[in-house]
Amino acid sequence: MDTLEPQFDYAPAPTQGGPSILRARYGMLAGGAWSEAAGGVFATVDPATEKPLAEVARASSDDVERAVRAARRGYEKYWRKLRPSERAKHLFRLSRAVSERARELALVQTLDAGTPIRRSREHDVPSAIATLFTYAGWADKLAWAVRAGERTRPLGVVASFGSGSSPALEAACALGPALAAGNAAIFVPSEHAPLAALVLAQAGLEADLPPGVLSIVTGDARTRNAFVDNADVDAIATGGAREACAAIARALAGTQRRAVLRPELPGIVIVCDDAPLDAAVEGIVRSALLERGPYAPDALRVLVQESILSETIALLHERLRTLRIGDPLDENSDGGPALTDARREDLETFVTAALEAGATVARGVGPLPERGFWHVPAVPLFGFRTIAEALEKAHAFGRIGGAGIWTSSGQGAVYLAERLAAETVWCNGYARFDPTTYAGGAAALRAYLHT
């Protein structure tokens, strides 16, 4: 039998549309209408090419003042007075309007944030829509989201800041619970990926929400500070870096205003010697490189039991060689660039630090495009011998956001889950969120209510 040369590779499969879907210039949505900002504009760039994509309004403190006044009016005049079941109708309409723009939203997120198009289209955008839909259903059932006897009074005007990871999803996760709880919501997307939120803004207009109830205000750190300094904003919500969260907590301390903080916590993956190994390797690749969730991307620690460490590294090397890092618009790309050059550097620093701390690093292969915030995928692995040692190493890490435990033993998984200081633990998985679960959905509502 002849041996053929390997002769089948995917041809480029770019998504239809591409950058042509974008407008040259975007305003901000405040008071139920698009407007320019007195603060001028800034350019948002494609992290895959470093090319500017569009000009976006840069809200000054005057613009922020105007947006907050409009939000207050929307809250007092309409939203607060509506029956909860009427608010629910508005929010269902919003989720439907977003789903009508699902294709555009996915494409815009991919262009602006570098998320591979299949991830945008098949995960982030459907999850964003599901989130809005689920919270719409909560709007008239708030009594069930709090403890018996507690009140369900909204806070008033809530401003949320995005960090730029999964921009469409983080916008939905910020707006969904704040609006459902009866607040007027202002979302300030990251200046590195503001466009997805502006697609949501357009959907908000199409859903005909009362003016001022939903605002999208674009800008940078100065814009965010203007919200923090504005005493008429009842609550500031943000995720992102721990330092940024701490600064907001400090600024609001001693006031009646509320800080809703979800600082990015480190993540951990523990692979036990009885794990389904092929799946665990896939899990490591996804949690470390492709589907990190809202956890600090440069702080995922992977612990592997020493008896399977060398086999895991061998498998991981093989797997990383087949990982397709490239054009986010290509339907066959598994991974894209980092959002910014600073984040790319953070990731590289993290790998270097792990090497110095004694980790073994499994690396993918280049070459990478010359322009853009690309980095060779690399996963540092640490060994452990006993479960007790794994727990000790995990505890040395402090508070953990998400933990993925890979094992075939249900008992072993429960043992670890009970002892890890983690917010969420997945068995044979990582960063899988579902807004219909308590931790994924209802729990967040309390933060936006005076109970």
Binding site: M1, D2, T3, L4, P6, Q7, F8, D9, Y10, A11, P12, A13, R118, D274, A275, P276, L277, D278, A279, A280, E282, G283, E311, A314, E318, T322, D330, E331, N332, S408, N428, G429
Partner: protein, 270 residues
Amino acid sequence: MSGPPARVDAVTLEARAAALFGRAVRGAALEAARRLTVACLDLTTLEGTDTPETVRSLCVRGRASGVAAVCVYPALVAAAVESLRSSGVRVAAVAGAFPSGHSTLSVKLADLRSALDAGADEVDVVLDRGAFLAGRYGEVSAQLEALRAESAGATLKVIVEAGELGSYAALRRACDLALAAGADFIKTATGKIATSTTPAIALAMCDAIRAHRRATGRSAGLKLAGGIRNARTAFGYLAIVKESLGDEWLQPARLRFGASRLLEELAATA
């Protein structure tokens, strides 16, 4: 085989299989995929109504297209051998009490021997699911080893009939038994039951082949059969094999598609 049976996680397996199966094969990749699929095709007819005449006409088509093999029942091997002489297309026969595997070992061996005596280059034997599902793994291994010994020099493909095994863990175990017994190929299905081949089944079998190579250094092949009726489906499986086993598996020595109607479909998309 030593150590505990390999563990499989169904959720991750199915998610990854679905993602790979959905790769976009477009443009220039389409023609390459089509050519590769034809080169790896076991053009198959396994009907009660088969005659030397229908087999000969199938061989003519297989020869013209340059498929890997023509696959028939043992009684029709002679007809296939005659029409495929010096064509480079190999003759494969199903054997070992195909499709159920319910028979005595002596009958299975005689079945296999008759196919080889008639000139078959390759035999596709079925794994004894009766014994396997009853947990008589030693018996399954002993049968496969006997069939392997009897087919020395020929290509041995072991059909695990994944759809009857009940779980991916059982599938993985069946694959590991077949590979340890020396199978040259493991094959998904007979094509005679409703659940034949799925992306996750294919990926689980690729994982078994990869683990076998890591443990022994031997590269066994994968044959996908049952329900592969159109080009899109075949190309989805090409993507799974390419990304889980690697480009070295994209050749007829290590990859086959068993199908009766796929050739026409491929021609139609060309």
